[in-house]
């Protein structure tokens, strides 16, 4: 529970109220696109996009969603996406937390170099490595498999960076106390450090899930048929070369976006309600 801090002399000032108004307008601008996507997805078939867009659908119906299931093996594709995203997320969070902890709390030769190597991998655009990686997958027979979607994505340099920073922000008292009580590194990590890093874990988990769920380029190259196809790739096929059935595309966008929003809502409080130190009770 966060204590609501009352700062002496604080009254809702004009600037504060203005701040909330601006926030509100900003927030509205965030909702409108989603509302429009939703509205277009519920409209009856219309192959050209009208501009300006209409926010209220004229003839709302679930036609587009039905067509979505007809145009591709929808169930299987969604299942693939779910499996891939969940596995990647959990393994990414775990391995990154461990590695971040290792970089933050252990001293060893080459520690800084290793950290820079992690960072270095973030500096190369994926479009460049996709071809060598694909050739590698082809050589070990992993084309069109789920493991090809999962395994290369487990190591997360961003996650390691995130956790490292978070652990370096973490005061050492609790771990030192545990060490004095005789706990080894693993126990200290698992029982004390990792739970404390819940905000970081929740944040990374959310972002990892989002990235895995929305991944397009790699699955596009790897998947040949519904065995390994994920949702973004399936949805891309809806974009015709000359004309696009926008209603179905929007329906697909809604389906693609909803799980992530759900995950976000679920995870939210873990991000904003970390175990607080000073409390330490």
């Amino acid at each position: 529970m966060t204590t609501q801090l009352r700062i002496r002399g604080h009254r809702p000032s004009l600037s504060r109220r203005l701040g909330w108004v601006v926030l509100g307008v900003f927030a509205l601008s965030m909702i409108v696109p989603f509302a429009w996507t939703l509205s277009t997805s519920l409209q009856a078939r219309e192959s050209l996009l009208r501009i300006p867009p209409e926010l209220i659908p004229q003839d709302p119906g679930f036609d587009s969603y039905r067509r979505l299931t007809e145009v591709m093996p929808f169930g299987r594709i969604v299942l693939n996406s779910v499996v891939v995203a969940v596995v990647i997320t959990s393994l990414q969070v775990l391995t990154s937390a461990m590695a971040g902890y290792g970089l933050a709390r252990f001293e060893f030769r080459g520690r800084q170099a290793m950290f820079m190597l992690y960072l270095g991998t973030l500096m190369v655009p994926f479009q460049v490595t996709v071809v060598p990686l694909f050739i590698g997958m082809s050589r070990i027979g992993w084309v069109n498999t789920l493991q090809a979607l999962i395994v290369p994505s487990i190591a997360s340099a961003f996650g390691v960076f995130l956790f490292r920073q978070y652990f370096m922000q973490m005061p050492m008292e609790m771990e030192e106390a545990a060490a004095i009580d005789g706990a080894g590194p693993w126990r200290t990590f698992w029982r004390i450090a990792f739970p404390f890093a819940r905000p970081a874990a929740a944040t990374h988990g959310l972002l990892a899930f989002m990235a895995a769920w929305n991944a397009y380029l790699w699955p596009l190259f790897i998947a040949r048929d519904e065995q390994a196809m994920t949702l973004p790739v399936g949805l891309a096929a809806l974009h015709g070369r000359f004309q696009t059935d926008w209603n179905v595309v929007m329906a697909g966008s809604v389906v693609a976006v909803l799980p992530v929003i759900v995950v976000f809502i679920a995870i939210q409080k873990h991000i904003s309600e970390g175990l607080l130190l000073g409390g330490g009770k």
Partner: protein, 438 residues
């Protein structure tokens, strides 16, 4: 320092691996055999799955081939399935697995698969990309009877006398016009005798109708430009030399620019992200030069419209966008793939399915196929599709095609923005293309 030594060792290892990978030898097929995708299996076919690396000279064994396409998704997967079903009646032992990718990414995926030794057995190519692929030796020679195809189309997919792909379909570009706007402006509808002057006059009359009404639209880009140049008797290459900056070409470009600069055609800013097709349907354009693939989309228009063959200047010229299908040179089932390609592109059953589905047009000479197509009520002048074939503009194609298109497009954009003149643009294009041909 110890660290740098490790880094060098690592790089050395990678270099060795890269060299090994870079020798480009075909890799082993993936060991998993996939059962034919549920959408493509004909129920009358025996339930056997593929055999690995089936030797090509035993046609009785079941073979599975992969066919990669960009034109089938999203609207014509069902039609493709129908064609495969018809194919399986003649060749029950060949299973065709369909793979698709959106057009924007199609060639990236295809090239990467080829690089990884994982090329599909048969795949679609458009005319512009055909030359690069054929020249690099990744296509198998096709030894097929090509008598039923349009000669011009067959030639387009051959290199040095060898057939490397079979023409599959084509579309053309026509002049679409809004009959209601023409009536309002008191202008006669376009006819086959129209020239640029007639088109311009009509555009002026229609543009005068209002601030958000424009007379015509033709994109100022590579494809439109080479065709417009052709309509003025100029082509990019003449007798093996680059001739893009000849007066006739400059004149053609100037004509296109004048349309925009004189308000007969909306500028990109005026369009504001709305596509030309959408503007036409919204009744804002009197005429539009676009492809026959828009027939379906334009059904939504609330006004009367029709099509006509594009007017030329010194001669006629119309686009001929052809797609072909090739067999991979690395395929282990080349014969089976060739059978499929032959059927897909040349059989009457496939052609009929294609025409009925309005999935472009087959490149076959059998006139009977077109009856169903021509007898559809809208647009009324469907005959124009065939009429336009009388004066066909073949795209200029070189091996470094993408770079040429990119260079020309960039220069045309600058000309449209008014940053350089038409002459300057084409002079620079001349130099750029000569550079690419070295």
């Amino acid at each position: 320092m110890k660290q740098s030594r490790t880094i060098w060792a690592l790089l050395l290892v990678m270099a060795i691996i890269a060299a090994a990978c870079g020798s480009g030898d075909a890799t082993s097929e993936s060991t998993t055999t996939t059962a034919a995708g549920s959408e493509t299996t004909d129920t009358s076919q025996p339930e056997t799955t593929t055999t690995e690396a089936a030797p090509v000279d035993e046609p009785a064994e079941t073979v599975s081939i992969r066919y990669f396409t960009f034109s089938a998704a999203p609207d014509h997967l069902g039609d493709l399935d129908a064609m495969i079903a018809a194919f399986n009646e003649v060749h029950p032992e060949i299973t065709v697995e369909v793979e698709t990718a959106p057009f924007e990414e199609y060639f990236s995926v295809l090239q990467t698969q080829i690089a990884g030794g994982d090329a599909p057995d048969a795949f679609e190519l458009n005319f512009e990309s055909f030359v690069s692929f054929a020249a690099k030796g990744v296509l198998a020679e096709l030894d097929v009877d090509t008598s039923g195809y349009y000669a011009r189309a067959t030639e387009a997919f051959a290199l040095d006398g060898t057939q490397y792909a079979l023409p599959e379909s084509y579309s053309t570009v026509l002049l679409f016009f809004n009959q209601d706007l023409f009536d309002q402006a008191g202008v006669d509808y376009p006819t086959r005798d129209w020239t640029w002057a007639d088109e311009k006059a009509a555009a002026e009359a229609i543009s005068a109708l209002g601030d958000t009404t424009w007379g015509s639209f033709a994109g100022i880009q590579f494809w439109e430009f080479y065709k417009t140049a052709d309509q003025n008797g100029c082509s990019f290459f003449t007798d093996g030399a680059v001739s893009i900056n000849q007066p006739a070409c400059v004149e053609a470009l100037q004509y296109m620019l004048d349309n925009v600069n004189n308000g007969l055609q909306p500028t990109a800013a005026e369009m504001g992200g709305v596509s030309d097709g959408e503007m036409f349907v919204n009744g804002e354009l009197g005429m539009i030069t676009t492809g026959i693939w828009m027939f379906g989309a334009f059904e939504e228009a609330t006004f009367a419209w029709d099509v006509a063959v594009e007017p030329g200047n010194t001669q006629g010229g119309s686009h001929f966008f052809a797609n072909g299908v090739a067999v991979s040179a690395d395929s282990e089932s080349q014969e089976a793939a060739a059978e499929w390609v032959s059927f897909l592109t040349g059989s009457p059953e496939a052609a009929k399915t294609r025409v009925d589905a309005a999935w472009e047009l087959p490149t076959l000479t059998d006139a009977g196929l077109y009856d169903a197509y021509l007898s559809q009520p809208s647009p009324a002048n469907r005959q124009a599709v065939l009429d336009s074939l009388e004066n066909v503009t073949i795209p200029p194609v070189i091996e470094r095609q993408a770079e040429m298109q990119d260079a020309v497009n960039g220069l045309l954009e600058q000309a449209v923005a008014g940053e350089i003149t038409a002459q300057e643009a084409l002079d620079q294009a001349q130099a750029a293309i000569e550079e690419l041909l070295k």
